[in-house]
């Protein structure tokens, strides 16, 4: 079956400095695919090569079976791109700009579809405004409407919620889920890892221009994240037993709380048995699973802050 997007051995350098190194991945039709990575990881360069903003260095990109260089007139019709930077034309009103954008893609204005986008993205009261008069959030919403106006089959969102407030972010993601349910494939980058974890079927992580992980989101989190077990002890523990050295142990609340990290492949039950075997009097137990953020930091070698490119 034809993939929505297929990238083979993609590379790109700027002034001899590699930005993307031999990256390959494919996106299935109807998928929500997350491309994550810290600043300078090569995500935006990859997206720019897919969209045609940036020339392909080496390798091949196909969208819905068409080569994005040879058959660019077909591939670009099928893609809608929301750029990371706000791109607007101050000469035109929101309504004029939406009509023009449909035309650039060779699509005649469809008033029903345009109206639907306007309503769903809350642009109705602002149709007659020129872009410069729009707030940051409205500009973001306009950019999403603009990327969808020609009814693309693959929507590329390069950090569409950067600098956007929580309410608007939720609204945008709800809308993205909705159009995905209707069959539009989504490729997104975001530096809100919790959102990526909730939204994406699969996630690829890039670092230093290379693809360092590509899995189903839940698999990636399950395989690489650490589950942590917190034991509340009746009798405080004054010294950590050596048996816990492999579990990154921590003592809190004057020895009444013991935190142990559960390695991948070991069950919580087995660890509980070990704790009890050492004679510790367990009053209560809680487990929590670290999420994508922990996985991301672990894979990219970052400990503080994870931002967009």
């Amino acid at each position: 079956m034809t993939k929505a997007l297929e990238i083979e051995n993609l590379s790109k350098s700027f002034a001899g400095v590699p930005a993307v190194k031999n990256v390959s991945f494919a996106i299935e039709k109807g998928e929500i695919f997350g491309l994550l990575g810290p600043n300078g990881a090569g995500k935006s360069t990859t997206i720019n090569m897919i969209a045609g903003v940036c020339r392909v260095g080496d390798g091949k990109i196909s969208a819905f079976g068409y080569d994005n260089q040879r058959d660019y007139r077909f591939t670009r019709r099928m893609l809608g791109v929301v750029h990371q930077e706000i791109v607007i034309d101050n000469f035109f009103t929101v309504d004029q700009a939406l009509k023009l954008h449909a035309g650039y893609y060779g699509v005649k204005d469809d008033p029903d579809w345009r109206q639907l986008l306007i309503e769903r993205l809350g642009l109705g009261p602002h149709l007659g405004k020129v872009m410069i008069k729009l707030s940051g959030g409205l500009k973001r919403r306009f950019m999403i409407a603009k990327a969808l106006i020609h009814k693309p089959q693959l929507l590329i969102l390069d950090e569409p919620t950067a600098g956007v407030d929580v309410e608007l972010r939720h609204g945008l993601w709800d809308f993205v889920r909705e159009i995905n349910r209707q069959g539009t494939t989504i490729l997104l980058t975001t530096h809100y890892l919790e959102e990526a974890e909730q939204m994406c079927d699969r996630i690829a992580i890039m670092n230093h221009g290379e693809l360092i992980a590509l899995e189903q989101t839940h698999e990636l989190v399950r395989r690489l994240s650490n589950r942590q077990l917190r034991f509340w002890l009746e009798t405080p523990l004054l010294e950590l037993p050596v048996e816990f050295n492999d579990y990154r142990p921590q003592l809190q609340d004057d020895g009444h709380e013991l935190l142990l990290c559960l390695p991948s492949g070991e069950s919580a039950g087995a660890l509980l048995k070990k704790v009890c075997a050492l004679g510790l009097d367990v009053r209560d137990i809680e487990t929590d699973q670290s999420g994508l953020e922990e996985v991301f930091l672990q894979l990219t070698g970052l400990r503080e802050g994870a931002g967009g490119e």
């Binding site: 903003v53 019709r77 791109v87 607007i88 650039y104 089959q153 069959g183 539009t184």
Partner: protein
């Protein structure tokens, strides 16, 4: 998975028509800058050279100075505005990042060049036509070969639309862009025989004027209107056509490659 988002029908010609429309709307929305200002400037020239100094000057036997200078002033309006339209539109797109919106679309390089060029030619023609209309207050032109005059004006407009595209691609900032018009086009227009026939210049300035590409455009246009020129219309048209073709090929190559447009 079946896509329930309504499917679109594509029209290959529509990207070109839309881009042309956008380029026309762009200059129309700021008509006070793009049309009115150049018309006022040209009118002042007409007043100075047509109604005041013109009555005391005579540079070509059988013609008033106003009749001599008006074709040059019309062409100056055409040239300046054709250049300004493509150069400012493309440079602003590059500078403000809006070019990205076009780069992701299926607009082909020929459609891109043609849309920008035709919009620039329309603006140049509008300014040229209004300047001519105002000039009728100062002098009647003999219109020796009107079709050839229009052809020459269109060629000049096309040539400078290409030059505007090239300048916009190479310009680093607004200063560089204004340098093209202030330090290149303006001196070449003034030295290209707008205000005097080059035959009255002493040597070597007369011979050097033949190296000025603007001379051929201005002389050819004037020749078609008043029937007299420093060189034959064929030579003027041939040289101008060759330069226009050269610039078109250069602009097409740059835009086709995405030079300084795509990273």
């Amino acid at each position: 998975m079946e896509n329930k988002v309504p499917t679109a029908t594509y029209y290959a010609w529509l990207p070109f028509v839309t881009l042309l429309r956008k380029e026309i709307l762009r200059f129309w929305r700021v008509a006070s800058q793009t049309l009115l200002t150049p018309i006022i400037t040209a009118s002042l020239y007409l007043f100075v050279f047509g109604a005041t100094l013109g009555e005391r000057l005579s540079v070509l036997e059988g013609f008033s100075y106003a009749q001599f200078v008006i074709p040059g002033l019309i062409l100056m309006g055409v040239i300046n505005n054709s250049f300004a339209n493509t150069s400012s539109s493309l440079f602003m797109s590059r500078y403000l990042g809006g070019i990205v919106d076009l780069l992701v679309t299926p607009v082909t390089p020929p459609q891109f060049i043609l849309a920008y060029t035709l919009a620039a030619m329309l603006r140049g023609s509008l300014v040229g036509t209004v300047v001519w209309a105002i000039s009728t207050l100062f002098a009647d032109l003999p219109w020796h070969a009107p079709l050839l005059a229009i052809l020459m004006a269109m060629l000049a407009s096309f040539l400078f639309a290409q030059f505007g595209l090239i300048a916009a691609i190479f310009a680093h900032n607004f200063d560089t862009l204004s340098m093209y018009s202030n330090f290149l086009i303006l001196p070449l227009i003034y030295l290209g025989g707008v205000f005097y026939p080059i035959s009255i210049l002493p040597q070597p300035w007369e011979k050097l004027s033949y190296l000025n590409p603007l001379f051929y455009l201005i002389d050819g246009f004037r020749h078609a209107i008043i029937g007299v020129g420093d060189t034959s219309f064929t030579v003027a048209f041939g040289v101008s056509g060759a330069i226009a073709l050269l610039l078109f090929c250069w602009a097409a190559w740059l835009i086709g490659k995405g030079y300084r447009l795509r990273s």
